[in-house]
Homo-oligomer: 384 residues x 4
């Protein structure tokens, strides 16, 4: 009988990081996908991710609103609690054989805890990496709750094992986000007009000489700084004068600070070279990235997908500290002068060669095949 | 200014494991105790722990009902979610400087997650141990969320460090539960009549020739087995004919199975040699244990306090697997014949010498002093 | 297209009160039943109602654990809140056309609030009645949230209209619980041995000369009195010496008081004439009632079903105050002497003639037909 | 001993409607104010109401984040459930003698249900009024849960009694919101520059020849229409060319639709005559209203405070249908042509005479005095 694989998708970036695995699970004859969509993936403010999921042809098994609104970290804690309560009910009704949890968002832990307490095997995608901030606590706590580890890199596998996980439970599959990146390499052309297809707000401009892409998220444990940090980047980008596509941040404690920083900057400055988007289909997004002259901000896309795509990156601040990175990344402090200098340096350099640090483009298929074949257990014990 | 130390007590055994530290925190001039009592510690079915806490002279800062009733593990997951939601509100209103979470109960994780997400330093008491069942997942996940580790044994300290925790954050304080055990060594006499002082149900009998004490909890991940397991122990104890004090189990998925097993056995058998209690003051309980001929069941008290007290123990089944133990413990399967044979062997042996595996009786003071003096941070990073 | 009718069943008595309507909805060509089972209907302590539902051949669409354990009214409030959160998610995923809520239990309000806020039409069964205690607040609040009112009696209809409900929205269907009672009139014989078929605990005895049935629930707003009240009834029944079948109470603030009262009485007295059950199939239960010499306690069954069945009733205390009643009911205070005298009087009287106060046995069909045909709206406005 | 009066404030307009009562309770020698602030009153997006509360000198007893984010009515249901869970804990810890709930917001019901189930007397401010939409269900359901009714008008008192409430429990105190309005009559001058003191976004302009004030909330049961409706008003106001201060809407299902409508209109039109604010101190707000030439939208302020202040009002759509109103109000459909015509008519008319429909300015004192002196009970029964 086919195994029921329950995947809980709670945010735009998580969807990109699991999409190729979802497709491979859905297509696998021995697997049955149970897709639960919740948290910011349901919200308009964070890009209507659910619309993209449906447009990609996936059936949604259940929806769960679970984001508690607030301007500080209390809201993250409460959202996780609310999600935990409701995911338990959903899992009780769905009876999955395995539950998949993705990366290190705070809601990720709700999925892992619900499944663990209900004696369901937990599979974790993207464990073993090292970054800064609260993500660090969440990611490794999820590792300790998980029975299967589908990691992106060899170093991540080593870390997971050193934490006491059974080596037999750790698989270097690569990251499914790279599968998507790999899929555009057959046709890298920017085959749509971003202004026309995605609307957004802000100025319209000519991009025939290239453009920047900015993604800057609040650093959760410094959320009061969020507004200051985004303002530094805004000044640097504004001053560069380069045509720029800017994506709004995810829901997170502090995202209101980031959003507010952007709104106030726009009121006070004529940002003729910046256009703002909420979201884009993942494929369009990757083509936009591929064709950009430099990606700026603190998104993990800059570290992961861009190393595969060879796109120059200016990585700002501590959010990606500790992540393995390719030669395409220049790290800078959150300071307008440093950011601007780095942008100029990277724009001058141009594309870098492809690096397979985070995967070779076949992670999704590997994960589906493992889910269909590995022995399943919800028990575990420290390996030392 | 005094540091605010928020401690969340959610069950009878957790209270015993933290009581001496609570006292030391409350007495420390540089610390201010914020005591939150919740979950089964508020419930009559699980021994009215809150009454003992108040009788011990502690002020309760807040109470939170959070046990969702059920007969399977869903209830544990939902209780944790509910606790997480409410503890976040409580911590938001209390503004603690450190949050203490105890051992490895499922609600323990709610405390650790709430504090972590709210950027509060988390101190974990009793990490790094190895046992069976879901506790294993919870304990190590809590370790990964914690900033300070107050462990009971040297081996536990090593495990916590191997999991990637900063050695500077790991302190071998011993377990506060041993402090209580140590406190009765000045006067070990059973200075009360258990039948008179604690009521309970079941037969009354002469204990001048000694008695057994039984504590058997459901093993969460095998909860359907809970009823069968308790029945095996009941048969063995019944057949031994020895006077026996039996304690009802904690709230846990499966505890209804255990309770039901006991009720049905009592309906069907004349259990003339067994008397049932819900709870006892910790000090009375330790004197009762000290003077027993053997402790039977799967409680960690048999492994921890009894090694210090030198009381013979028959430890049944997998619940304590992996825990360091003294020469006072005989391990058996959950099988009435084996249990009965082990009881006879241990009763024949008599007291063992004191062993300090889990502490020397000064853990509470060490913990309070560390809480008052160590640098506090909610940030962390894998040490490799 | 068939209308989706979502019914939320949360307790044993609610199931009896809606069962015939569930059957009629399930059988109706223009209706599609979405059956959600939650709260105490899922719990063993309260009679495993869900097992009876499944045995009756209904498909369960979703289950939701929502009882927060406690010994005071806080738990009722929190259970309702938890239910509200989860029922919203369930309704969001089920997309019902109408939501049915039953009677006046505290969880009933969760269903009505969830549906109201989600702009779904709410149909209330059993509004407009008058009783004591918190039920009074809940019942009428649910009326104000409802768009359709399926009431049991003409007086109830008048009350609902006087409260400002549109007369077009109020239908005197009779109570579906009477449908079940009517169904046994073809064969009223007690065709099973209660001891054999239902086990239970307590003495076994000869019932060929008749027996009593006792159902006594805690009166929520006097929950501290619950233990005293049940003890009075226990003494009266004990002293009567009549063979007695006694049913455990529902989950409610105070039910632990009632349960404890029973347990302690049993420890202290040799209750040779009392046998205790948790639950029975509704049909067996009605035959047991029909053949009893008197029904004792404060259950609404005594007021409602027994008036139709003509069974003598001793109704104790304030719980049913204000409910319309037949000539079969003697009301007494919660006092052992009064209760005993009333039992003797009623046992001496024997059966009464059938009265159709609460329905004629066709409520379920009427409700289903109305659900299939009335215009639906979630809007409403005070009729004056 | 002083009675503990727990008041739960969950939104900006609720605060205005209770502020004078809060002050009178706080000042009363026989009352002790327990002020709980939650829901949108904590959120920046909805005007940082908590800052105003603190600036007014009130001590906050507890804060509770409870708004679940979403774009449809599910979020309202879940927010209420979450609030109910947490308010129960808060009330359990505060032990109030009476709980006050305000008006008819969805969270209002959470307060009333929590208190009712916990056997606490509930006092409802502003019951008995008739409007459209979901508020209608909530308001009257709260009436059925309440033990004391402090209503604004004689007609409201009659409706509450007709619904079956004991006439002894109904008091025509007037609405505390009118107390605030009355307090500015000593000095009605606009003694601050709104642009300077409150920032906000949008154009700056000369207001020496007068200005409009717009407050338009989504009508919950038509939330998909929210965007269309606000756009009609925007067009009318834009076309009028009159200087306009526009307040952002409250949190409510649909408020994102309203917000989005405003944002998109601003992107597409040069709204030179409109300036947007989130919030204002209540007194500044009332002076701004008093000095405006016309208030436009669907806020109850237009119906209530403005009838006392004599300010001309253009009331749009169904939100205030059924509310008693003065001669100062012109009602129009949500249609740009009708709105514009009504604005021109009202601007031409100028101030109206004061009408005391909703109070005479002493409601707060009356409420405090009643809370200190009336007999308290949590029991109730339908008066017919």
């Amino acid at each position: 009988m086919a195994r029921n694989i329950c995947v809980v998708v709670t945010a735009r970036p998580s969807y990109s990081r699991i999409k190729s695995a979802l497709r491979a699970i859905d297509d696998h004859p021995d697997l049955n996908l149970q897709l639960v969509v919740g948290a910011s993936a349901l919200l308009h403010r964070y890009g209507d991710t659910i619309d993209y999921i449906e447009r990609d042809g996936f059936d949604i098994t259940a929806r769960v609103y679970m984001v508690v609104e607030g301007e500080n970290p209390i809201a993250s804690a409460k959202s996780t609690g609310l999600g935990l309560v409701e995911l338990a009910t959903i899992m009780d009704n769905l009876k999955p054989d395995v539950v998949i949890t993705i990366a290190d968002r705070y809601e990720t832990l709700a999925t892992a805890v619900a499944a663990s307490y209900m004696n369901l095997p937990v599979a974790h995608v993207q464990g073993g990496e090292v970054t800064g901030s609260i993500d660090e606590k969440v990611r490794h706590a999820v590792t300790k709750l998980s029975n299967l580890h589908f990691v992106a890199t060899q170093k991540a596998a080593e870390r997971v094992q050193r934490m006491g996980e059974d080596p037999e439970s750790v698989f270097v599959t690569g990251c499914p986000s790279i599968d998507l990146a790999a899929s555009i390499m057959k046709n890298t052309e920017l085959d749509f007009d971003p202004f026309v297809k995605y609307g957004g707000v802000g100025s319209t401009f000519d991009i025939s000489d290239g453009y920047l892409v900015v993604m800057q998220h609040p650093v959760t444990t410094e959320y009061k700084e969020a507004r200051r940090q985004v303002t530094e980047t805004l000044h640097a980008v504004h001053e560069s004068g380069l045509p720029t596509f800017w994506f709004w941040p995810n829901v997170d404690a502090g995202s209101d600070g980031t959003s507010k920083g952007i709104r106030i900057f726009r009121e006070q400055n004529h940002t003729a070279n910046i256009h703002f988007f909420r979201n884009m289909s993942p494929i369009d997004f990757l083509r936009l990235i591929y064709n950009s002259r430099t990606v700026v901000g603190n998104s993990s896309v800059g570290i992961r997908e861009c190393s595969f795509l060879g796109v120059p990156v200016v990585n700002i601040g501590s959010r990606q500290t500790g992540r393995e990175r390719g030669s395409n990344v220049v790290d800078v402090e959150s300071d307008r002068t440093s950011i601007l200098a780095a942008i100029r340096q990277q724009v001058g350099h141009g594309h870098f060669p492809q690096e397979n640090i985070y995967g070779d483009g076949k992670a999704g298929e590997r994960i589906a095949e493992l889910l269909a074949t590995v022995p399943l257990s919800f028990e575990k014990r420290l390996a030392y």
